[in-house]
């Protein structure tokens, strides 16, 4: 059997500053930041009071009344993205094809927002350990089990292939797409809606990151608070969002004359086995993941046109990551443009990995690399080309994206442009 290849044929995005694929792309290529003071609740008791929120209208996104009623916010994001991505792909599935069409979505914290809201009700604001179940809403179980995310998307589109939620913390978004890719490569599915969603902007998540001082306390200037690779970075800015890609077996896409954004050419992950939240400065495991993904794609470091960094804006991450790029890419690391869109859309935990993969697909498509906004001061330990503040036009043949998460997970994925001849039906 010849190896089955995976291509991207549809993209859907819900991101801060840009709900829908086109608005998202406009936001990040204009270098606009979508970080602001939290509006979902009164953030004044907390250390970090800023976030990147989505101005999301589920009706405009095409969700049914039943979906709006039953689905938690992060699931609604994924539904919206899946509708947009499928329309973008032009796929119209037959019944037989639905049996071979799956859903693999990532999330780091799942239904935390609904779980917390319901908890406040059933516990009478934390007064009772033995909560009053009779006061809970009808969809509490869906909130408890994040498998609801994949289930609701499968239900929406009538997909009977494998459905799965991948929850490896902040690498969930890359890992879910990677899992979907393996299903296609192993002939377990022909089409997979793959991506991730998170809506973690609720008090318990804000308090959790406060407790370990991971998020930025730059409350006086929210628009400039997410400062990846800048010497004056002070932590990440919490965000919400989602992205869903239509992944398709190459022959399947080719036969129907689909528009192909790019090929998923390589995916690998490693764990650092070091610390739940700490990173060793050498970046070894992220470098190993990058090298393994390159090897799979049969690409050399010099062939990488763009690196979409994890770039969370914490002191340790950006240093760790810069070291990883140098270790994996060698001299090529000095020349390749590296940027972090978290500078604009914040860090939506499990979702961001998929949002960054969507950005990579669009970068390949349009030949534009989004910038790192808010970059002003060079950090001697972060000395690569971070595409400061202004997007750059350049042909992107190969885009590399990486993620790094609590638990020590390090993931890398490569998108590659297909030559025009290979795309023609």
């Amino acid at each position: 059997m010849t190896a089955r290849r995976t291509v991207v044929t549809g993209v859907g995005v819900v991101a801060p500053g840009g709900v829908t694929r086109d608005r998202f792309w406009k936001t990040i290529t204009e270098g606009r930041t979508a970080t602001r003071r939290i509006t979902f609740f009164d953030p004044s008791p907390f250390r970090s009071r800023i976030a990147a929120e989505c101005d999301f209208d589920p009706v405009a996104a095409g969700l049914t009344e039943a979906e709006r009623r039953r689905a938690d916010r992060y699931v609604q994001f994924a539904l919206a993205c899946s509708i947009e991505a499928l329309a973008d792909s032009g796929l119209e599935l037959t019944d037989a094809q639905r049996d071979r069409a799956g859903v693999v979505l990532g999330t780091a914290v799942g239904g935390t927002m609904a779980l917390e809201q319901e908890y406040v009700t059933v516990s009478d604001s934390g007064r009772h350990w033995l909560v009053d179940h009779a006061r809970g809403g009808p969809y509490l179980y869906q909130a408890l089990v994040p498998s609801s995310l994949a289930a609701d998307v499968a239900c929406r589109h009538g997909l009977h292939g494998p459905a799965q939620v991948v929850s490896t913390g902040c690498t969930s978004g890359i890992d879910a797409i990677g899992y979907a890719h393996q299903l296609i490569a192993d002939d377990e599915a022909d089409v997979v809606l793959a991506g991730a969603a998170d809506s973690p902007i609720s008090p318990v998540t804000v308090a959790s990151f406060d407790a370990i001082k991971a998020t930025s306390p730059d409350n006086d200037d929210p628009a400039h608070a997410s400062r990846p690779f800048d010497a004056d970075r002070h932590g990440f800015v919490l965000a919400e969002g989602a992205a869903v890609l239509v992944l398709e077996e190459y022959g399947h896409a080719r036969r129907r004359g689909a528009h192909v954004y790019c090929e998923l050419a390589g995916y690998a992950s490693r764990s650092n086995g070091y610390h739940m939240t700490g990173l060793r400065p050498d970046g070894l495991e992220m470098a190993l993941a990058i090298s393994a993904a390159l090897k799979q794609a049969r690409l050399a470091p010099e062939q990488v046109s763009y690196v979409s960094a994890h770039g969370s804006g914490t002191r340790q991450n950006d240093r760790h990551e810069t070291a990883a790029f140098k270790r994996a890419l060698g001299e090529a690391a000095r020349r390749v443009p590296v940027s972090s869109i978290k500078s604009m859309v914040g860090h939506s935990l499990g979702a961001i990995g998929s949002i960054e993969m969507a950005a990579c697909a669009l970068a390949v498509e349009y030949g534009v690399v989004p910038p790192t906004a808010n970059w002003a001061t060079r950090d001697p330990e972060c000395d690569l080309d971070y595409v400061p503040n202004v997007a750059r036009e350049l042909p992107v043949d190969v885009a590399l994206s990486v993620g790094s998460g609590f638990g020590g997970f390090q993931s890398a994925m490569l998108f590659r442009r297909l030559p025009p001849a290979a795309v023609a039906a």
Binding site: L144, A268, S271, G407, F409
Partner: protein, 429 residues
């Protein structure tokens, strides 16, 4: 792609007991281990029976530093993983870190820990949570901690497909082995037994309200009344066959087939799951294993205990196996249903059955419901083809099936310790 994946270690931490011997004793004797909930006072709730791990002493399995950072669900995972490694004759720290990975399923995260922190945040004066909330509550907590402690540095994963995920984690372990990582830790543990997690489960409408533990969870029975929740599960060492043989490891069996489908329909009062999609998952698994339905020795079903779901499951099994009745055995009534941990536990039961050369009798039904008349194993018997089919469903439409081919029963040789092929940086193709 042709690498074969075998199970060389099993760690059980479940209501049936801690360790494979305790679990097998429970299964072989058909002893029910469910009872009144003791982890909190269940008086206010319509469900007051559960399966709890008896006398679980977390400090036996991890030092205090790791215990305070983690939920009971993770503590159960610490224990199950150590037991599995020990059973496989592998050392506590991976000798070849990039050649070891861990992929567990988790359907609900750190519930007791999370509820304590929510109470502190909302009920306490300070509007804060502790420093470990950010690493204890989320679904990847167990896998991250295990990766660090045991130095599993290959491609790891955390899967969530409600109760079906225990099987999915084993399927993914095989994918990972075939891509070049020789040892993958797979399986699942759960602890959905906090007051708030129970309140959430009650909203599913599937829990049993029967107060008598002996009558509370009776899948396929005319008196089926829902399921009894449980904690615990099982963790496995899944190993590339050549790697296992090279170190003289005891082999329980091979994971030869798997299939997963989705109903594309929600669970609700008017739904029963889709027998056609369930049957399709089973056929996918049998086809992958190149096993004809007539060659299956025993089926361990999902056994939800909700009448309409039991009937749908029986319909699906009849659709696959036709007129030839296939022996069915379920031990879930003995332990309760530990969600992802429960489907993993069924895999442990199937592999142990082959190791003990005994297919255990089914724990019920006493009086099969209309439409649920399957060929339940009424007494233990010797295995024949040594092919087991394990099935699981997840809330809101997940169907998974796994085919295991058991190794011949033989006295376990003491495995040589950690004579492992040379180190690798791990591969992915």
């Amino acid at each position: 792609m042709s690498a074969r994946a075998v199970v060389t270690g099993i760690g059980v931490v479940a209501p049936s007991g801690v360790g494979v011997d305790a679990h097998w004793a429970t299964v072989a004797s058909g002893t029910r281990r469910t009872g009144p909930i003791t982890l909190f006072d269940p008086t206010p709730y319509p469900t007051r029976v559960a399966g709890e791990v008896p006398d679980f002493a977390a400090p036996t399995w991890a030092e205090n530093r790791r215990l305070v950072q983690t939920d009971r669900w993770t503590h159960l995972g610490f224990a199950a993983t150590r037991l599995a490694l020990d059973d496989a004759g592998l050392p506590e720290r991976a000798p070849d870190p990039y050649g070891y990975a861990v992929t567990l399923a988790s359907s609900s995260g750190g519930n007791l820990f999370g509820q304590r922190e929510l109470q502190r945040l909302w009920g306490g004066p300070s509007r804060t949570v502790g420093a470990y909330q950010s690493i204890a509550w989320f679904y990847a907590a167990s896998v991250g901690q295990l990766s660090i402690h045991h130095q599993f540095k290959g491609p790891s994963g955390v899967l969530v497909s409600e109760s079906a995920g225990g099987l999915d984690s084993l399927a993914h372990a095989v994918r990972t082995v075939r891509r070049g990582t020789p040892v993958v830790i797979a399986g699942a543990t759960e602890c959905p037994l906090s007051p708030y997690a129970l309140a959430c489960q009650l909203a599913s409408g599937l829990l049993s309200g029967e107060a008598d533990p002996a009558r509370a969870y009776r899948p396929f029975d005319a008196d089926a009344a829902g399921y009894v929740p449980a904690e615990g599960g099982a963790v496995f060492v899944v190993e590339e066959m050549g790697h296992a043989l090279a170190r003289g490891a005891r082999i329980y069996g091979e994971v030869t087939g798997w299939g997963a489908t989705h109903d594309a329909a929600h669970t609700g009062p008017d739904s029963a799951g889709d027998p056609a999609q369930y049957a399709r998952a089973v056929r996918l698994a049998l086809d992958r294993a190149a096993v004809a339905p007539g060659d299956v020795d025993v089926v361990l079903p999902d056994a939800l205990g909700v009448p309409r779901y039991d009937r749908a499951e029986a319909d699906a099994l009849r659709a696959v196996f036709g007129s030839r009745p296939v022996p069915v055995t379920t031990q879930k009534p003995l332990t309760g249903r530990a969600h992802q941990g429960g489907s993993a536990l069924d895999v442990a039961t199937a592999l142990l059955a082959f190791a003990h050369d005994t297919l255990p009798a089914s724990a019920g039904p006493d009086r099969p419901a209309d439409g649920c008349e399957l060929d339940f194993l009424r007494s233990p018997r010797r295995p024949d083809s040594r092919v087991a089919l394990v099935c699981a469903r997840g809330f809101d439409g997940f169907n998974s099936a796994l085919v295991l081919r058991g190794a011949a029963a033989r006295p376990a040789p003491r495995p040589r310790r950690a004579t492992v092929p040379g180190p690798t940086e791990g591969t992915d193709e």
